[in-house]
């Protein structure tokens, strides 16, 4: 297997990124970022060939090939803080496209467990990105990645929802199973047409937007973590992310 990527010129250990533990050139130009570090194994299994590049804290990176396209996968851990770190460091090593492969909790009744959501943008309900730029700045997916994800779902004959999600920092405060929480908080977002809530997407979109790289997100509505059907849906979601990366490559967007 030869999937090593040539290092950029004059790259030395001082360029190794603090958390993701990668040097410029050590990942493909398109990187899938699941929050769940367990998903990198699923990525590896879904590729024609793949190997582990590095692991540090919650950041595990695999690089592989699918149909001749080189793609990497870096887990970020759950939450906006580690997602913002992961995205920032991926940009610093030269990543051009970052696609979040995550789970979410739908808040619209027409979205069913196991459904896929392609996010066009995200409400900035987290605080990580407020340290970077005022709240008026939009957390928006790159339209080319949105289109690539749509085309990927179409190729895989998978239905999807397209729209806005909301990212926030306190899952157990607003989840329907919150104990002593405030699940009613979500009603205003339901009324505004927000499809789902998660803890990462707006952090990715803001960091990528500010740095001039393309970002997107395909989310899986996971209602019950031990639902057996979910495993198969997770495979479908990963396949869609990989297919989107291939489509970006076909379009010369990597």
């Amino acid at each position: 297997m030869n999937i090593k990527i040539a290092l950029g010129e004059n790259m030395s250990e001082e360029h190794r990124q603090h958390h993701i533990n990668l040097l410029p050139g050590e990942a493909a130009s398109t990187v899938l970022i699941p929050d769940d570090s367990g998903r990198v194994q699923l990525f590896a299994e879904s590729m024609d060939e793949a190997e582990k590049v590095t692991q540090k804290r919650e950041y595990i990176t695999y690089t592989g090939k699918k149909g001749g396209t080189q793609i990497s996968c870096t887990s970020t851990g759950l939450g906006s803080s580690p997602t913002a770190i992961g995205a920032e460091e991926l940009v610093r090593i030269g990543t051009k496209n970052i696609i979040r492969i995550g789970t979410c909790r739908a808040i619209q009744s027409f979205v069913q467990p196991g459904d896929l959501i392609i996010a066009t943008g995200a409400v900035r309900g987290e605080r990580a990105t407020e340290e970077l730029i005022p709240i008026d700045y939009p957390a928006v997916a790159d339209f080319r990645i949105v289109r690539a994800l749509i085309e990927a779902c179409t190729r895989l004959e998978q239905p999807y929802h397209l729209g806005i999600v909301r990212t926030h920092d306190a899952l157990y405060l607003e989840a329907p199973f919150a104990a002593g929480g405030r699940p009613a908080n979500v009603q205003q977002w339901v009324d505004l047409g927000v499809l789902a809530q998660d803890n990462e997407t707006s952090a990715l979109f803001v960091v990528a937007g500010m740095q001039g790289v393309r970002a997107g997100a395909i989310l899986l509505y996971s209602a019950a973590p031990h639902d057996k059907g979910l495993e198969e849906r997770t495979r479908v979601q990963m396949a869609a992310g990989i297919e989107a990366a291939r489509i970006l490559h076909e379009k010369g967007l990597d």
Partner: protein
């Protein structure tokens, strides 16, 4: 239905796609690019022309400057049958690398406008419709025109974000300049946000003669007028593409 309060329009007076210039006099300039056109109503800053282009009915309504006036126009246009909104406007670029004049396809907007804030809570993104963005880019390519896609900063006070201001506008704009936002203007976020709120397609194509970092090195009036004409041609072809998606 009685005619709309500000626009003085009735159902049937307009096409599904409406172009929205801010400048009152520009409505007619845009309508002159149609194959035929007729003044449907004129009240306050709102001039509406409707005509035909490549077999479809299209309209243009001037909104005046600012989000508040544009929001009123969109709300009333929705009530009389509009489904797609394309703002054709001007602004001041805030990235020196952009061509002058520049033709910018706005993909999303910084919501520094009060109107977006009243429709959506803080933090809610103001996003252009994907099909409009793609339609503009494809149409520009077909016409052999160069467009740059990216973000716009919408704000409400012209004299706090223009080279004509006495304030240090580059300091005011620094967060947006550093983040790669392409242009400052006053209406994009409103047009995109209200389109989202009303389940319509919204898009914005901006023309700019120059950038705030080099206010004396802009394009000529003739070049800018040509760019506005080019923006109109792109918008008309985009309207045709949207029509084909829907019919």
């Amino acid at each position: 239905m009685e005619k709309q309060h500000h626009l003085h329009l009735l159902p049937g007076d307009i096409g599904e796609t409406v172009f929205l210039p801010g400048d009152v006099s520009r409505a007619k300039i845009i309508a002159e690019h149609f194959e035929s056109y007729k003044l449907m109503a004129s009240n306050r800053q709102y001039n509406t022309f409707t005509g035909m282009y490549k077999g479809i009915k299209v309209s243009v309504t001037s909104t005046g400057i600012g989000g508040a006036g544009a929001a009123i126009a969109i709300e009333e246009l929705v009530k009389v049958g509009a489904r797609n909104f394309i703002r054709i406007g001007t602004g001041g670029m805030i990235q020196e690398w952009l061509p002058r004049p520049g033709l910018l396809v706005i993909t999303a907007a910084v919501t520094g406008d009060g109107t977006s804030r009243e429709y959506f809570p803080v933090g809610y993104p103001s996003i252009a419709n994907l099909e409009v963005v793609e339609g503009m880019i494809a149409s520009a390519e077909e016409l052999g025109l160069v467009v740059n896609p990216g973000l716009e900063w919408s704000h409400d006070t012209f004299y706090a974000g223009s080279p004509l201001s006495e304030l240090d506008i580059l300091a005011i704009e620094k967060p947006w300049i550093d983040a790669g936002v392409l242009i400052a203007s006053q209406e994009a976020a409103t047009v995109l946000s209200i389109s989202m709120a009303r389940n319509c397609r919204g898009g914005v194509l901006l023309v700019s003669s120059g950038c705030h970092q080099a206010p004396n090195e802009g394009a000529t009036e003739e070049e800018t007028a040509q760019a506005i004409s080019d923006a109109t041609r792109i918008s008309l072809e985009t309207a045709v593409k949207l029509y084909k998606l829907d019919h």
